[in-house]
Symmetry: C2
Subunit: 485 residues, 2 copies
């Protein structure tokens, strides 16, 4: 994709997103004719070239086809699957967490490099900063700072990096002072430090459901219980349930959420919902641990705000990283720990002293060079395209009764299969065919997702990915059509 | 110091060390005449040039003076202080650990860059790999591996680095397979992972006393108690006490030791003592966590073996890093977790996924390039010299009744001051004069070292360091001479 001026870039993509949303909602059906470029431009009050760009974008995403001399049509392949139902409507109860065994088994089975990787929520290496650029930028920094890495700097991180992160966070509504930040070994260490600082073994934390499996792994390692809250991809965590379960003082030690493009739902909590949750948790004295690692990967116009931007009392511990946007192997994450700053800085020191200065310097240089915003624009377009293509293939090839999320950012899809499909069987069968997927068992401590899977669209939608997705669909269809036992 | 052929290098330094030990033991007194070069060469069965080199080395260390036409004499400044007494002879009891407050206060107070840093056990940046070399080596590796860091590698570390570490460990008697190793964010993360895997809150671990303060910090953060074992710099941890306190099954969850150039004692446990402790702990089913971070920094001829080399049952978790020898800011450590491999690899994954691949690649390249052994030789000579000079200044300027250790490696000295000297008062007074030292309060959970300090000799012995040491000595002398209150 070539670089285009930012204004038009934003405009046409926003329009494409609105049209895609209309298709997803069922307003347009496969084969339907779309408005002409001129009609669209007039109705939406944009230039004709913006309207053309929007259609070209949708064509790129595989959502529409152009028939010369006739116009634009919704692609026949496009079958707007419904969204998954909200789960966990039964009253939630605290569960001990014992999922590490199954999670590590799945991760290890999926590590075969010949397998098509639809399991791990990793961006394809082709989307990451290449070594040549890292070498160049880091080399420049090392030239200017010949003593880099030669001393113990026991502070919370490399100062130029903390300033660059504070500047970046400012662009999406978070006023964070560089001194408040703690740089970590990826977002995982940030989450671990937050939960170690806030919770004690035997306590219970509230989490969204389905949830990012490593949150379950961390709390299992700490002996903490979880209470899984019903979560809707469009509205976020169920506010009423949260209100009820947090009434008893001390019942819930923390709330862990990923409000922007949550993994695995891909949902985005509306701003008003974020504000209300921040307010309620402050009133009840329950800290929020917010994982915003996908926040920069919005498909729409605007970078959504983290909950932290409504936090006036230091009650939100914001955690993020550059693993999904720059390169996972850099292992540079960060956190704005609010009122837990002192405890968390101490825990960071006793856990790993500080984060590799080489890696911190590389990230600082990439952020400061201005290339990051440009890089993000390309990345967002690529992920939006890959998610749209995968959605189309799933619509085409997955069995009747399947449901799929419509994420507005990130790069994962959550698929609810017909009840008869055992996701673990599907996982093993697909792996035998050379495709890895993430079965629902990884995302709940209480086994709530037996016929659900997560599909990662982090890699370029090649022919191999296309075939892999159809293979999963075919196995799922076969499992769905078996007579009940 | 210029590079000399390795054989002679080793020979003359070993001879110098033997002579220095003789002086420290009191066999030679200040002003004593030393044997002539010819007599020494004949007696020690070395060449005359080796004997000359040994004397030159001792002169460099400030231990002897040359009087033209007369010969070699023990320096007048040299006052062989006795070694500190062994502490903790009262029967040890488990203590809760609550030292983080005082430790962080001391570390933060010592961070002022204008202060002469005798507190932190850090090598001077002038001894570390310079950025230019790191840039060159890392650049070479990034050229060959353009996808470095662009993927999540969830294994226990970068494979070429694990192989290089296994080869290095083999040279000092540790047969470790690369697949057994887990690469960590420095030795601190290795120790944290080991203790998280082995212990639970409320349990008690046995440690040497005085002990590396960050071990206290880690166990405090985990809610684990410590039992401080009497430790002698020459014989290591008191075997008989260890035997008694570990009789009751379950009383001790783990033993944490630093048998090679322990911090802060600088002691080296004899091989036979290591073997016996390994054997006893195996019989009792108590894992050993061994911190070998100073092992490469021996002043004598031979790299001492870690306890791990006697471990036949996977009961020893060996932890180390390159922070004291390459550069602290790289944050690359490693562990050989023995029978805890599975649990520790899982904890590493849930704590920080993996270690920065940029940093791992830099270390791998530096190890593989062969420059590490050469670099270590210079480093060991520099630290031996710095320790000897500091010892001489302490002998000259510290109050009557002071005692100081005679480390055979590493770069820290442990000083026992007259009982009247309050080490915390000394710390504050010295800091006000622009010198940081580490007071004994940091090294015990039960306040056993009120009139002890640790002096780091990691930095080149400049005039500023010399003056700083004398300043500490003068303040200590003043505190010692005050009438009892």
């Amino acid at each position: 994709m070539t670089d285009e001026p930012q204004l038009s870039d934003t405009l046409y993509r926003a329009l494409a997103d609105r049209l895609a949303a209309g298709m997803a909602s069922g307003a347009f059906r496969p084969g339907d004719r779309l408005p002409s470029v001129r009609v669209l431009a007039a109705r939406e009050n944009v230039s004709v070239s913006t309207a053309i760009a929007a259609y070209r974008e949708l064509e790129d995403r595989g959502l529409i086809v152009v028939r010369p001399k006739s116009g634009f049509f919704v692609a026949a392949a496009w079958r707007a699957l419904p969204e998954p139902r909200m789960h966990g409507t039964r009253p939630p109860l605290p569960s001990d967490v014992g999922v590490n065994g199954v999670i590590m088994e799945i991760l290890e089975a999926s590590r075969d490099p010949t397998v098509v990787p639809l399991a791990a929520a990793s961006p394809g290496p082709e989307h990451m900063y290449p070594a040549a650029q890292v070498r160049r930028e880091l080399g420049a920094r090392l030239m200017r700072e010949p003593t880099l890495a030669t001393t113990y700097r026991m502070g919370a991180g490399y100062e130029p990096l903390r300033r660059a992160i504070a500047r970046h966070a400012f662009t999406y509504g978070c006023l964070i002072e560089p001194d408040e930040l703690v740089v970590t070994n990826g977002c995982m260490e940030a989450l671990t430090l937050a939960l170690r600082a806030i919770t004690r073994a035997g306590q219970t934390i509230a989490i969204e459901s389905p949830t990012y499996f490593s949150v379950l792994q961390i709390v299992e390692s700490l002996g903490v219980k979880v209470l899984e809250l019903p979560t809707n991809p469009r509205h976020g965590v169920a506010f009423d349930t949260l209100e009820v379960v947090t009434r008893t003082p001390g019942a819930i030690a923390a709330l862990v959420l990923m409000p922007n493009f949550s993994n695995p739902l891909g949902g985005r909590m509306p701003d008003e919902a974020k504000r209300r949750v921040v307010e309620l948790m402050h009133q009840r004295g329950i800290p929020i641990v917010e994982d915003d690692v996908y926040g920069d990967l919005h498909f729409g116009d605007r970078r959504p705000k983290p909950m932290k931007s409504w936090d006036r009392h230091g009650n939100v511990v914001l955690c993020s990283s550059f693993s999904k946007t720059m390169a996972p192997g850099l292992r540079v994450g960060w956190m704005a720990p609010g009122r837990f700053r002192r405890d968390i800085a101490l825990l960071k020191f006793t856990t790993s002293v500080t984060t590799s200065e080489l890696a911190q310097a590389a990230v600082a240089e990439l952020l400061a060079s201005g290339s990051y915003e440009r890089h993000l624009r390309k990345l967002r377009a690529a992920f939006a395209r890959q998610v749209a293509r995968a959605t189309a293939v799933i619509g085409e090839s997955f069995p009747q009764g399947s449901r799929v999320t419509r994420p507005e950012g990130g790069f994962v899809l959550w698929v609810e299969l017909p009840e008869r499909v055992d996701a673990m069987a599907l996982f093993h069968r697909a792996l035998a065919e050379g495709v890895s997927i993430a079965p629902g068992a990884m995302f709940s401590a209480s086994g709530m997702y037996p016929h659900h899977i997560r599909i990662s669209c982090g890699h370029t939608h090649t022919a191999a990915v296309d075939v892999a997705l159809r293979t999963v669909g075919a196995i799922a269809a076969e499992l769905a059509s078996r007579p009940a036992q």
